[in-house]
Amino acid sequence: MPMEKRLSTKTKIYLTIGLIIVGALLLWGSNYWLESYGQRILKLIAVYGVLAVSYTFVNGITGMFSLGHAGFVAVGAYVSALLTMSPMEKEMSFILEPLIWPLNSIQTDFLTATIAGGIAAAIFAFAIGYPSLRLTGDYLAIVTLGFSEIIRLIALNAQNITNGALGLKGLTEYTNIWWAWGWLLITVVVIASLTYSSYGRALKAIRDDDIAAEAMGINVFKHRLLAFVVSGFFAGIGGSLYAHLLTTIDPRPTTIGVFLTFYLLIMIVLGGLGSITGALIGAALFAILSEWLRIFESNITIGSITIKGIPGMRMVIFSTLFVVTMLVWRRGIMGMEEITWDKLYNWLLRFRKKGQTAEPEPKRGDVDE
């Protein structure tokens, strides 16, 4: 096994800055290269990325199995949508029951609304996490699922705040490429810095064995709660971006309910539970595949033969993929690994060595005795 070479911190910082600049240039270029459909997918990747990374912080890195992420997304989406809509629009939308004061008369810009959505979701995460995070494993899963369902039911019934089943429609499409990818960058930087701090090591210790972690003097409950609240905050941010990308938000299970949590779970399991880069890959795969798989749902015409599309086929394929992943390839694409500059560097070195010298690698058993 050759020694793993490491890059200096300085080089890594330059590389990261370089990557961000190149990424920004590419995104800027996409305005010219991609038509609106492609740009929409690009935005969707970033929004899913924010949601998946914040979700994996709880499920993959802290090892709590929460099924309530969609609830926080819903809170962020509703709060921010109510803040960006103009008083006129609100009066027009809330036909059954008027919106309560003071929400009916205030309007803020998108940034303030998004942060407010994040903070509101974080408050909800605290309120939900405080009673439920003493539970572990499957009980926690059910309780968080219950809470997210309660949030959805409140959204459905609190006519004078959320406009009930009608939802909020006709939002301005504020989520452009810069907002989406900018927030994704912030999310990844914050979550990654937390993961690689002493705090993050404590979280991983809790994931691997909470009793041992407790014995080492880690306050398990406090750490879990903090992780839950941070994750909730970014879920709220993601919710705001999501609402202003779809331009409509309503309390159907597929929009903000349990199905959204399932989709996020698919992303982080495919990408590798416990990996931030894995969550990003999973989010991108999900966004691209779910557009690509639309061909199964629309009619295909080859010559004079038309094959009828089957609505709902995408989700059958996704869930099959998901179950098969769990059965035969549980680590997913990245497992608990991350793509780091060091790994890329070593991979590149090995690649170059192979290219230059054609000598076969020593086989096992060839070693001189």
Binding site: F65, D138, I142, G146, F147, L153, L156, P311, L327
Partner: protein, 299 residues
């Protein structure tokens, strides 16, 4: 609330509670053995109703035969789910099995959307006419269906208790829930017993689904989600792992739900919330439920 309304609600609560109890038994038996929340259980409930529906409309079976076939079909599906999705994961961490269970549930729902269609179907055709008649007892007006449902539920519960406590396979099930490896050493084929447990629980879920669809005659691919969750809550409430607990929890939950809405109709939109509040309270103050045993973690 008048006395008449109260009696009406009492019958409704009893039936709803019985249906929850039938589903909850499946959860509690599987959890008792594998420590796994079988998320797909609620979807077996849904598939059972569709099997009965197509048994009558497509295969033109008489209604009672369609129901029997659907219950056997549900049992087969439960068995199959265990074999395909859960058996390969017996030795892996519990949380992997849970994630797989969620995947299976999601698969069954999306599969149902593709095969059966996402638009709700009316179950009214399947209900034989004599069950739709209304009996008048004093001021009380009750559908024959209610008595029929209660009789079937009671019959199934007694049958289940007989299987679990009076038969050999039932003894194996109880043994396995205490200790799988030791039971295997005693010469019991544990995989067969686990498979049988899944089949038995799924048969009850299928039966419950069909009675449910007769009372609320609209069937759709996601109909199993909420009853499934609530039945799981009932199982936790009664003490997970305990069959009598699941029955008791189911009846209490169903009765409470109907009565709260009966007394406070303005909260009807939030009726699904109560169950979750009960769950959170139970897990916070008495996580072992009414009849459950305490589980300790060995370090």
């Amino acid at each position: 609330m008048s006395a008449r309304m109260f009696m009406q609600n009492l019958f409704n609560g009893l039936t709803l509670g019985g249906l929850y109890a039938l589903i909850a038994i499946g959860y509690t038996m599987v959890y008792g053995i594998l420590r796994l929340i079988n998320f797909a259980h609620g979807d077996v409930f849904m598939i059972g109703t569709y099997l009965a529906f197509y048994g009558v409309t497509l295969m033109l079976l008489p209604w009672w035969l369609a129901i029997v076939v659907a219950i056997i079909g549900s049992a087969a599906i439960g068995f199959l789910i265990d074999r395909v999705a859960y058996k390969p994961l017996r030795e892996s961490p519990r949380i992997s099995a849970l994630i797989t269970a969620i995947g299976v549930s999601f698969f069954l729902e999306s599969f149902a959307v593709v095969v059966f269609g996402g638009i709700p179907k009316s179950f009214l055709k399947i209900i034989p006419n004599f069950l739709k008649k209304i009996v008048t007892i004093g001021e009380l007006r009750i559908q024959v269906l209610t008595f029929f449902a209660l009789a079937i539920i009671a019959g199934l519960l007694v049958l289940l208790l007989w299987i679990v406590y009076r038969t050999k396979i039932g003894m194996a099930m109880r043994a396995i829930s205490t200790d799988i490896p030791t039971t295997a050493l005693m010469g019991v084929n544990t995989d067969t017993v686990i498979g049988f447990t899944f089949a038995l629980g799924s048969a009850l879920a299928g039966a419950s689904g069909i009675i449910w669809a007769m009372r609320y005659p609209q069937i759709f691919p996601y109909m199993g989600f909420m009853p499934g969750l609530k039945a799981f809550i009932a199982a936790v409430f009664g003490g997970i792992g305990s069959i009598q607990g699941a029955m008791l929890g189911g009846f209490i939950l169903g009765m409470a739900e109907i009565m709260i809405v009966g007394f406070l109709p303005q909260l009807a939109g939030y009726r699904d919330v109560f169950a979750f509040i009960i769950l959170i309270l139970i897990l916070s103050f008495k996580p072992t439920g009414i009849m459950g045993k305490k589980l300790t973690v060995k370090v």
